[in-house]
Symmetry: C2
Subunit: 333 residues, 2 copies
């Protein structure tokens, strides 16, 4: 049985508003009145009806996090950090799984918002800046590289620099035939484009010629795609002595394919990834990777959103860069 303010008020012998004042910590309530009300609340196990409160206040206390897929470890780890950071602001996080398709993402960006959430942290794959205009001013923070100079706040990692660093590390190991796995031609592939740019820049830095045959596309960035791309590279005429995979799940798939081909990592082929997911610390061999500061990304995103919600909604969009570092492990020591 659910109780309302009115029930508590009757039991405590005060008005509805006085109970509301107690619940909301209003100061000018006599100590004994407050005690009576609190006792009644406890006895009835009263809990406020958030729908009603939200209707009245115009805010819901819920923010949404929209990610392409939850069972991609990177997004799961990110989600955990976002939930933690949001909890510190007293927000509940509604996690929405878009699947990465343009239509679903559009729906996530506009549909979910039907007054149910105060703001949105959005990690888009397919959406362009154009899709984001006209979203009724729903406060929104974007994660990742897509929608480069859209109308919303933005938290990014310097993909080009990070990719350049990890590729340079492979060069530093003495490798010269360095492959890349994960390129994409679709408009969704903004991260792919930037990481590819970092890769080619590092090769240029080292005076190594760019060989298109060493760049393997991957339709999605799952383990199976990484394995398939690696197998393809191994059957080609250009035998790579290192691979930079554009994310860790691709790299884990590549490790698997190399193992099946009887090649040793890192002796025959060095492997590097991007994301620093938990798996990479226990894989065989452990995975060298770019480690973006996921906790920082989550915290910055939540704080940007908090700024929009409590402050100026019309301020020009800001872009914050989260730090990254290289986590060097066995696959490319």
């Amino acid at each position: 049985m659910r109780h309302r303010l009115k029930d508590v008020a009757e039991r405590a012998g005060v008005s509805v508003k006085t109970v509301s004042n107690v619940v909301n910590g209003y100061l000018h309530v006599r100590a004994d009145t407050r005690a009576r009300v609190e006792a009644a609340i406890a006895e009835l196990n009263y809990r406020p009806n958030l729908s009603a409160r939200n209707l009245r206040k115009g805010r819901t206390g819920v923010i949404a996090l929209a990610v392409p897929e939850l069972d991609i470890p990177y997004f799961a780890e990110l989600a955990r950090h976002v939930v933690t950071a949001a909890a510190e602001h007293g927000w509940t996080v509604l996690i929405d799984q878009t699947g990465g398709g343009p239509e679903q993402e559009r729906k996530a960006a506009s549909g979910i918002g039907d007054h149910m959430i105060d703001g949105l942290i959005f990690s888009p794959l397919a959406l362009t800046a154009d899709d984001l205009v006209g979203l009724d001013g729903m406060p929104m923070v974007l994660l990742g590289e897509r929608v480069d100079h859209g109308p919303a706040d933005h938290v990014v990692v310097d993909n080009v620099a990070a990719a350049r660093e990890i590729t340079a590390h492979l060069v530093g190991l003495g490798r010269r035939r360095i492959a890349a796995i994960g390129s994409q031609r679709t408009p969704e592939g903004a991260s792919a484009r930037l990481r590819l740019a970092g890769y080619t820049a590092a090769l240029a830095d080292a005076g190594i010629g760019y060989d298109e045959r060493l760049v393997a596309p991957a339709p999605a960035w799952h383990r199976a795609d990484g394995a398939a791309a690696m197998r393809h590279l191994l059957t080609s005429e250009v035998r790579p002595d290192a691979v930079f995979c554009f994310n860790d799940t691709l790299a884990l798939g590549a490790l698997r394919a190399l193992h099946e081909a009887g090649l040793r990592v890192p002796d025959d082929v060095a492997v590097a990834g991007f994301d620093d997911i938990e798996d990479g610390r226990f894989s065989i061999p452990t995975l060298s990777t770019v480690a973006p500061d996921k906790e920082r990304i989550a915290r910055l995103a939540v704080e940007l959103l908090a700024g929009r919600l409590t402050g100026d909604r019309e301020a020009p969009p800001r872009e914050l860069v989260a730090p990254h570092r290289l986590a060097l492990r066995e696959s490319a020591p």
Copy 2:
């Protein structure tokens, strides 16, 4: 700028309720009126205020899924399936991360519910049946083995049978010193207890004596715990020739520890897990495991909840068993 029914009504030259009727698909609205209203809705980009609708209707269209940790792959994969199944019923899923502590779980089970959600699918670690009484009749479906005969609906896997089967498989490989990793003494360890029971039953079936030294506890079920437990077993006097890990992440950690110890899998030690997470299909070696039908679990849970929401809330709690199978791969072929 957000618009209300009233704005649409004024623009279309009808009453507020008529607009509401159009929005809700009420039949008896003249075609031209409907068209005028729909045009006005489109022009103003009107979206209903869900808080108000919920307040009025008493339902929110949101269900919650509470899991201990999102970045445990099993829960992430489960979450994906629950989101998919719930979408077919028109529900949005609010994913809540409890952390597995008793206090947080109690809060998830009661606190979140403040009229914000219609029902809860809950995968508890620490909560007992006693904690669940007096939850104001929030419709709830429990996943997993804890709270064995509590007051709520329940979807389970036959942990004892599954553990027995996979252990029997290890026996069938000719192994005799079969270790177990993941036992727990805490009240949280209901799954651990059941899987341990299946393990001992299989040993008894095969006439193999139970050796306490072969059973390694694990405080949590992460990769690091599995690695630590495996290392501990390897330094003990009883050299195991097989290990049954109570979940896949433990098994992946064990694989890692075996690799570091220079042991071959499965030649020296066979390894089996439980959950069939994506990682296990690409690990080196690939992982033999118990594969619970996660999609089925999610679907059954959502359907049980749907039954509670639309039907009899006082019906006796039901327990449904989701099927499982063995996925035999390289680590214990």
